[in-house]
């Protein structure tokens, strides 16, 4: 998938708005989208994905509340530099560990080998260290 595209899985149980939020957040956190980058207008993105305008608008608003985007009426949405992020609480780390283990168990139960999972996690760790 080209880096500046997002994809919507219409067969997924995850709601369309949530899929958009997750992918845009990932693109910003991975520095694929940089502060100042202009995003596609709500209407165009909704048309291209074949979903309601309000779904995309809500996704943009969620990201704006999280501090990733700035929405200016009439000028669309753009990526902004997030301010200082407060240190995560122990509960956040614990929740992350739990979700990661659940995810790994899930893909192993679908037949992905332990070596492949370990390789993916090492790759992810290496890319995180570069950030």
């Amino acid at each position: 998938m080209p880096p500046l595209q997002i994809q919507l899985d219409v067969s997924s149980e995850v709601p369309a708005g949530r899929q958009i939020v997750d992918q845009l957040r990932m693109l910003v956190m991975d520095r694929v989208l940089h502060p100042g980058d202009q995003l596609a207008p709500v209407r165009q993105l909704a048309l291209d994905l074949g979903i309601h305008f309000n779904t995309v608008a809500e996704a943009y608003r969620t990201l704006a509340q999280e501090g990733f985007l700035e929405i200016v009426h009439g000028r669309g949405a753009r990526v902004v530099e997030r301010g200082s992020i407060p240190a995560a609480t122990p509960e956040v780390a614990q929740d992350f560990r739990r979700r990661l283990r659940e995810l790994v168990a899930g893909v192993r139960s679908q037949g992905l080998s332990t070596a492949k999972v370990a390789g993916e996690l090492r790759g992810l760790a290496a890319s995180l260290e570069k950030l």
Partner: protein
């Protein structure tokens, strides 16, 4: 005598236009791997089954059109309108038949479950002329009948049939403008071409082509108002019509050449009714490119499109009915 002959020729020609349009629509060059609006496996159109479906479609289309053209010749003043209507209706029915045959005979291909969209804004090429074309296609079609209305008002014309025709032409012009607006602002960019700039250019030219096609009847009706003498009317209209057809042919040639066979709408086949009109209430797009040939369909499931069609149909039926009644009364 000459006027009568010209009238019959015009009636015959307009009836054939409907069949030409359907014939060109059922070209082998389709979006994605699709055939008569159905996703098929690659190369199906060249297979024995595909060729048989296409052959049957063409044979039935031209047979029915020939019948429609002959019927139109016996209908006098109502011949042109009836001929066009019959030929388009026949084409639509035959196309639907080919669509059903393809659904039955071609191995089913699933719609993609993943839809993709560009999150970045593609910088627009220096294309101010595209904006000018968009504006012209939105302004000219309603302005021509508006001028004719002003001329008829100025002359104090009491011909009620003419007035109804002018109102109809004005409405057709407004619909042309709405069509161009929808193509410019309410269409999915990924359905038409793989890049946003190519998509924009394709949609503008497509809208301009349709505006020109509809400008022909609009212009004809308007000229009747401006030039009541039939000889002057034919002398003016026919050369204009030939010029217009040449321009339309050139634009269509460009569109066929630049139709990107890799681009196709991401929706399931069930959204395409009869293979040529699109109906998907959950899709915000107002217009979608036809899967086969050069053209587009309004999204008939969209509430805005439903309302527009209801208004157009009502006005068309009312204006045609009143005109027919008035014409018959005048004949008596």
């Amino acid at each position: 005598m000459t006027v009568s002959l010209l009238y019959h020729l015009l009636s015959f020609w307009f009836t054939l236009i409907g069949a030409f349009a359907w014939h060109l629509l059922a070209t082998r060059k389709s979006r994605g791997d699709s055939f008569f609006g159905v996703r098929v496996e690659a190369g199906f159109e060249d297979s024995e089954t595909g060729s048989r479906i296409l052959g049957q479609f063409r044979m039935r289309l031209w047979s029915l059109t020939a019948l429609a053209a002959v019927a139109a010749e016996f209908l006098g003043a109502a011949g042109i309108g009836t001929g066009i209507l019959l030929s388009f209706l026949a084409g639509g029915l035959v196309f639907a038949q080919a669509h059903r045959m393809t659904l039955r005979l071609a191995p089913a291909q699933p719609a993609p479950v993943v839809r993709r969209a560009s999150i970045a804004v593609e910088p627009e090429e220096s294309s101010s002329w595209l904006g000018i074309l968009d504006a012209l296609a939105m302004i000219v079609p309603p302005v021509i009948p508006a001028i004719a209305v002003a001329a008829a008002l100025n002359r104090g014309s009491g011909d009620r049939a003419l007035w109804f025709f002018l109102v109809f032409a004005l409405f057709l012009g407004i619909m042309c403008a709405a069509n161009q607006w929808a193509l410019r602002f309410r269409a999915r960019s990924t359905d038409w071409a793989l890049s946003q700039n190519d998509s924009r250019r394709f949609r503008t030219y497509l809208g301009v082509m349709f505006s020109l096609i509809f400008t022909a009847p609009i212009g004809m009706i308007s000229l009747i108002a401006l030039l009541p003498d039939p000889v002057v009317f034919f002398a003016t209209f026919l050369p204009l019509e030939v010029l217009l057809l040449f321009v339309v042919w050139r634009i269509r040639f460009w569109l066929t050449k630049h139709l990107d066979p890799r681009s196709i709408d991401p929706m399931p086949d069930s959204c395409w009714k009869w293979g040529w009109y699109y109906c998907n209430p959950s899709d915000p797009a107002l217009v979608v490119p036809l899967r086969t040939g050069v053209g587009h369909s309004f999204n008939c499931g969209h509430p805005g499109v439903k309302a527009a069609f209801a208004i157009v149909t009502t006005l068309t039926v009312v204006s045609l009915a009143v005109t027919t009644v008035l014409s018959s009364q005048l004949a008596h």
